[in-house]
């Protein structure tokens, strides 16, 4: 009994230390100069853009049962004859997630701050660095009024999500190796879970599901909509985190596929039936 208490105590201590370490990282991040965040965001987004462009232009999208999330169902497609030469098959799909993220309320904040410096950060000293003059500032009234199309990219994303789920299951229920769970399958599932969390925590989805109502008790099914709305609201509170986690999971999943395809690492099978 004493040993159990000791284990629990040690476990709790480790948990507390972990939480403290995380909060101290967050506190340290806040203490950094204001320009660190916009430069980091700009750097990460540019690097992601370069990597994903290189992949969809120059690389293939399938290895054994794994399909890169950058390619999804276009991995086995030929580019249609009507498409110009610079168009590759995944580009026929990628406009959806690209448009969804480019018009996302969180990424809007991120790129207005990181690329437009509108403003780069909230401190008084940072706001004085804003390059746009008062006359030229139009916010989301001029060109960026187009961001209101976000909800349509959300609707289109539902199809992408469905395919990514299908492809995650395809890594488990394979054609030639039977049913198996490999490290890759876990990665593919982690990726689609994070991408789904990002998609369904979207502000437009939250609005669609119940944010547009004033009175839940007035309509049939209002209670269910309210519960869904509250659930989506809880997800939505972490929308920025889902946005980053899913961006990195897409990246790692694709890199993993290329590493196993190149034979650099081996995809360990954890559980296998039949095949």
């Amino acid at each position: 009994m004493q040993a159990t208490f000791e284990k629990v105590r040690l476990g709790n201590r480790h948990l507390e230390e972990g939480v403290q370490a995380l909060s101290s990282v967050a506190a340290a991040w806040k203490k950094l100069p204001w320009w660190v965040e916009p430069f980091t965001v700009a750097g990460v987004l540019i690097a992601f853009g370069i990597y994903s462009t290189a992949v969809i232009v120059f690389a293939g999208g399938q290895y054994e049962q794994y399909i890169s999330p950058f390619f999804s169902f276009t991995a086995t497609m030929d580019t249609p004859a009507w498409a110009p030469a610079f168009i590759t098959a995944p580009m026929l799909l990628l406009w959806i997630p690209l448009g969804f993220r480019a018009t996302c309320y969180y990424y809007r904040k991120a790129y207005y701050r990181a690329f437009f410096w509108d403003p780069p950060a909230c401190q008084a000293s940072a706001q004085t660095k804003e390059p746009r003059s008062a006359e030229n500032y139009r916010g989301e009234r001029a060109l960026f009024v187009l961001n209101n199309v976000h909800r349509y990219f959300l609707y289109a994303s539902f199809f992408v999500i469905a395919f990514l789920w299908y492809e995650a299951f395809r890594t488990v229920f394979t054609y030639d190796a039977g049913v198996q769970i490999a490290v890759g399958s876990l990665l593919w599932f982690a990726n689609i879970i994070l991408v789904s969390a990002y998609t369904f925590s979207c502000h437009s989805f939250r609005h669609l599901i119940g944010g547009n109502m004033n009175c839940y008790s007035c309509v049939k099914g209002g209670g269910a909509r309210r519960k869904t709305y509250n659930f989506v609201s809880r997800l939505n509170a972490k929308h920025p985190q889902w946005a980053w986690y899913s961006l990195f999971s897409l990246l790692f999943t694709d890199i993993y596929l290329r590493l196993i395809a190149a034979g650099t690492i081996q995809d360990y099978v954890l559980i296998s039936f039949g095949g």
Binding site: K109, P119, Q123, R132, A134, H207, C215, S217, C218
Partner: protein, 278 residues
């Protein structure tokens, strides 16, 4: 110019006096007016648990009795003592001096509004904006019967203490001076509360879009970062309003449905029609 008078300020300072504090703290406080102002350095004895307002009041009581500062409850409830500490809007009564250990402390008034004197800005523009918002209007007589599930979202916007720090930090007002075209985060919080209220029957979306200029907000969330009562202004007020404005003005499918059905708006009106048994 001290809104609460020097005697009250001295009482406040006396309350924080400590028998034996040995440490001191230096504060650089803005002195002067909009046209002619600069920071002046003061040194005061540090007391345990001292907040910046305590230090300012101590300076007012012991060194500069004409130092202007607006304060009232000293409990982060009234929103009077909002100012800028090291370039960030803060409630002076909620900011401990210890938080700034190892840093210089610069205390400035809210810069998005005209500075009257020292730490006091003229925030009356906000009251004018407030008057322009369509008030709560209902067909029914109060007291209303309302259900928790319909009003639970309204508690958050009602927490606002009108400190106007969100208005101060908003670059649309602060940097771009769009006071004529833009109501600011505080009034989107108010509009959201009114728009989502189940008993209210006013339509404010045209005002939100045109008069209050929600399109000028580029959702960079500084307002949310500074809110002392933790209202998620951007996520829970501004973006829901932007989505409702998009329903009404930027959604071609909804526009088409309205044309076919001959109604101005779908969702809210539908709920209201169902409620009234139509």
């Amino acid at each position: 110019m001290t809104e609460n008078g020097n005697s009250a300020a001295r009482a406040g300072a006396a309350a924080v006096a400590d028998d034996g504090p040995k440490k001191t703290v230096k504060l650089n406080i803005f002195r002067g007016t909009e046209e002619d102002g600069k920071e002046v350095e003061y040194e005061v004895e540090l007391a345990e648990g001292m907040v910046v307002l305590d230090a300012v009041l101590k300076i007012q009581a012991e060194q500069e009795d004409d130092l202007a500062v607006r304060w009232n409850c000293k409990a982060a409830h009234c929103g009077s003592c909002s100012a800028e500490i090291n370039g960030k809007p803060k409630l002076l009564c909620k900011s401990r001096v210890e938080e700034y250990e190892g840093q210089e402390i610069h205390v400035q008034p809210l810069h998005a509004f005209p500075i009257i004197k020292d730490l006091v800005s003229d925030v009356s523009w906000n009251y004018e904006v407030s008057k322009g918002i369509k008030p709560f209007t209902s067909d029914e007589q109060a007291p209303f019967t309302m259900y928790e599930e319909d009003v639970e979202r309204l508690y958050e916007p009602k927490k606002c203490i009108e400190c106007f720090m969100c208005q101060d930090v908003c670059h649309v007002l602060r940097t771009h001076n769009k006071h004529e075209e833009f109501a600011g985060p505080r009034f989107f919080v108010r509009n959201q509360w009114l728009e989502m209220h189940p008993m209210d029957n006013q339509d404010r979306l045209e005002d939100v879009k045109e008069k209050d200029g929600v399109g000028l907000c580029n959702i960079t969330k500084c307002c949310t970062e500074v809110c002392p009562v933790g209202i998620k202004i951007t996520d829970n007020s501004i973006i829901p309003l932007k989505e409702r404005v998009a329903d009404e003005y930027y959604d071609p499918a909804k526009w088409l449905m309205r044309k076919i059905r001959g109604r101005k708006s779908m969702t809210n009106r539908e709920a209201e029609a169902a409620k009234n048994g139509n």
